[in-house]
Structure formats: structure tokens, C-alpha cells
Symmetry: C2
């Protein structure tokens, strides 16, 4: 394998679910890379140069060629490094995986974040609780095996790290029950299997500092709303 | 080629930019298919069965296997029918095409529609005029050749049919100048080349009925707003 002679870099922050997706994929494939921790309050010149459109992380850089958008990065990684595929070689299975990963981004990520952080708008919060619940229900019914990928994790599992790790963390701050074993038993079991997968486990951010980070953000919003 | 013995169906409506993308791709590849016109006010059982999640068009059905989401469909078509590729075989070029097609969907489609149809909220309209202008500027700078695909159309060109055909149509209704040759000369030239491409030209919906459709929608919003 040539990857050790290549330059593989990931610009990111530890607490981002989108960065975490890329870390999991890289580890799953066994690719060595350099992680460059960004300070989003003071973005590096590299970040601005590599992702001038969004100026966001993750940015994946392979031999000086930058790629943004976590799902686009995952597809690239899977095409360049063939070992341990995360997408099926069958075009139909691949299209289903793309559909569900996009579904997670479009229907679950934003609504569950808003359900927690829309502190000054009870109607908006309720609307987003409903939307994320509805979407999680659809995904619950979609889960057929141990993982979305069957016996091993795939593209959809990796995209869904947001559900397994981030939703439980942020819902606790707002004392919400968006996602638990009572409401979504299959998805909850999946999340436990997934979080305990060796590759996933060692690439999750430490829980406590991340909880403190989101809690302080939540408290600041609450303080601003009550003024 | 086996495609003539296969069942290839597209469920859609004529006036949808997302359906139009799939039509262009199928024609570009020379794939025979059956177009099933949907009535969105009274959706068919097939549509509800094939796309239970969104109940939206386009749905592409290949030998009874349904796929939703226009960009996911384009990728599937490109993988199954290899002639006249719309995505490069180079993983990096492919990732750039995916990035820009997603950019069009995330940053241009919604904002330009809202710029036209937010008739009862001037602030919202202005915000969306700004957002779509900003995004079109970024895309203008990205265009290097005759087409996004170089000498021939590719995935990004097909995604951008929305810009070439739909924005000029809806902006006229609201008397806005979101996209024209003064503001975006390169992108405007591209749009003319693209709309005159033989494959594109014959797959665009007839302009007048579509204009009338959007105009009546606009007038209805306006009437509701002035009550």
C-alpha cells in the first residue's frame, strides 16, 4: 500500500460529528493521517485556503488536494483506498446507502439540534422534536441487521454516528427524550453495538468536555432568551 | 446493450427541475425509458409505494427497484450505464463534481425560490436575494470551460439546469434580477450553451404553461399576503 508515502491530512475539531465520520472511515480503512486541530474562533490559513466556500471542517487533504463535505470525503476515501469497503460495489445498494446518509443529514441532524437549542421558541422546539422523532421512526424501521451495513459497519452507520453519540449527549442538556431505548429499541441497540465497535470507540471525542461545551452554549442561549 | 430488455421507468412531473435532471441524464446516455406523469395533487399508489419516505418525484425505477433523490439517481444511472460518463473516473474530479452539485442544491435552489416566493416578508426576500447572489458569484468563479464538465456536459451541468432554466423563469414573475448576463456573464454564457445542447433542449418543459403555473402560485401568495 502506498498510503504511507502519501500526505493525508484531516483538518477538524474534536467535537464535530462530521469530523468524527471521517476519522472513523480512515481508521476503518487503516489509513495513517495527520490530524490538524482547528480553532474555529480563529481559523487557520490552511482552512480558509482549502475550503474557501464554507470555511468549515472537516477538510480532507490528500497530496495537497482538498475535499470538503463529510459524505463527499467518505466516498472519496472509499474509492481511493479499496480495503474494507464502506459502500457496496452494487450500484443499487450504493444508491440506498447514499439515500439514507442524506436522509440523516437532511431530516435528523438539523431537527434534533434545533429541538435542543431553540430555547427561546417553544413552538419551534416542538416542531423539531416532532420532525426528528418522525425521521428516527423511519430509520428505526429501516434497520434490518446488526448494522445498517449488515454484519459490518458501512457508509450509513458512519453517517449515523450523530444519532448514536451526539443526540444522547445534547438531549440530556435540555432534558429531552428524543432518542432512547423505549422509543427506538432497534436503533438504540444498534447505537450500543456501534459505539462499542473497536474502530468507532477509539475515535469518539471525550464526552465530558463536549457535554460542558454544549451545556455552556445552551446556558448562554437561555440567559439571552430570558433577558 | 441490455437496457432495451430492462424495465426503466421515471415517475415525475414535467415542471420539476429535479425530474428534468434525470431526463437529461437518461437522454445523454441514450437509455430508453417510460415516463410516468404524476399528479401531485393525487399521488399514484406507485409513487407512495416507491418513495414512502418523501412521496416526491423524481422516482427512478429500474427492474422494480426504486431510487429517489435526483443526484442519487444520476449517480446510479452513471454507474449502471457506462456510456457517455457524467462523472469522471478520477476520484478527486468526482468528489469536486459531488461538492458543486450539492452546493447548487444547498445554496442556490432554496434561496432563489424563496427570493421569488417570500412575497409577504420583505426581509426574508432580501436575505434570500443576497444568499442566492453570493452563491451564484461563487459558481461563476468556478466555471472554467464551456461547461462545468469541460467540452461536454457533466454531473454539475445537469444539476445546474435549475439555474439555466428555472431561475430566469421565476425571477421574471417577481421582476427580480437574480441571474442575468450583466451580473454573471460567464454563467449566463454557460446557460445559453447548455440550454442549446441538443440533449438538454429536447428535455426542457414547455416554458409558457410552466410560467403560468408559477405565476398563479405567486399571485395566490400575493393575494393571501394582502388580506
Amino acid at each position: 500500500m502506498a498510503e504511507n508515502q502519501e500526505e493525508v491530512k484531516l483538518l477538524g475539531v474534536d467535537g464535530s460529528p462530521f469530523v468524527c465520520r471521517v476519522k472513523i472511515a480512515l481508521k476503518f480503512k487503516g489509513i495513517e493521517y495527520k490530524f490538524v486541530e482547528e480553532n474555529l474562533a480563529n481559523k487557520s490559513e490552511d482552512l480558509l485556503k482549502y475550503n474557501p466556500v464554507y470555511k468549515k471542517v472537516p477538510v480532507f487533504v490528500h497530496n495537497e488536494k482538498p475535499i470538503s463535505e463529510s459524505l463527499v470525503i467518505l466516498e472519496y476515501i472509499d474509492e481511493v483506498w479499496k480495503q474494507n469497503p464502506i459502500l457496496s460495489s452494487d450500484p443499487y445498494q450504493k444508491s440506498l446507502a447514499r439515500f439514507w446518509a442524506k436522509f440523516i443529514d437532511d431530516k435528523i441532524v438539523t431537527s434534533s439540534f434545533k429541538a435542543v437549542f431553540a430555547v427561546n421558541d417553544e413552538k419551534e422546539r416542538e416542531k423539531n422534536v416532532e420532525e426528528s422523532t418522525e425521521a428516527l421512526k423511519i430509520l428505526e424501521n429501516e434497520l434490518k441487521g446488526k448494522f445498517f451495513g449488515g454484519e459490518e459497519i458501512n457508509f450509513v452507520d458512519i453517517a449515523a454516528v450523530f444519532i448514536a453519540f451526539w443526540i444522547p449527549l445534547v438531549q440530556e442538556i435540555a432534558d429531552l427524550k428524543l432518542f432512547n431505548d423505549e422509543k427506538f429499541p432497534k436503533l438504540y441497540n444498534w447505537s450500543q453495538e456501534f459505539l462499542n465497535h473497536s474502530v468507532v470507540k477509539e475515535n469518539l471525542p471525550p464526552r465530558d468536555p463536549l457535554f460542558a461545551f454544549f451545556k455552556s452554549r445552551y446556558d448562554a442561549l437561555l440567559a439571552a432568551a430570558s433577558k
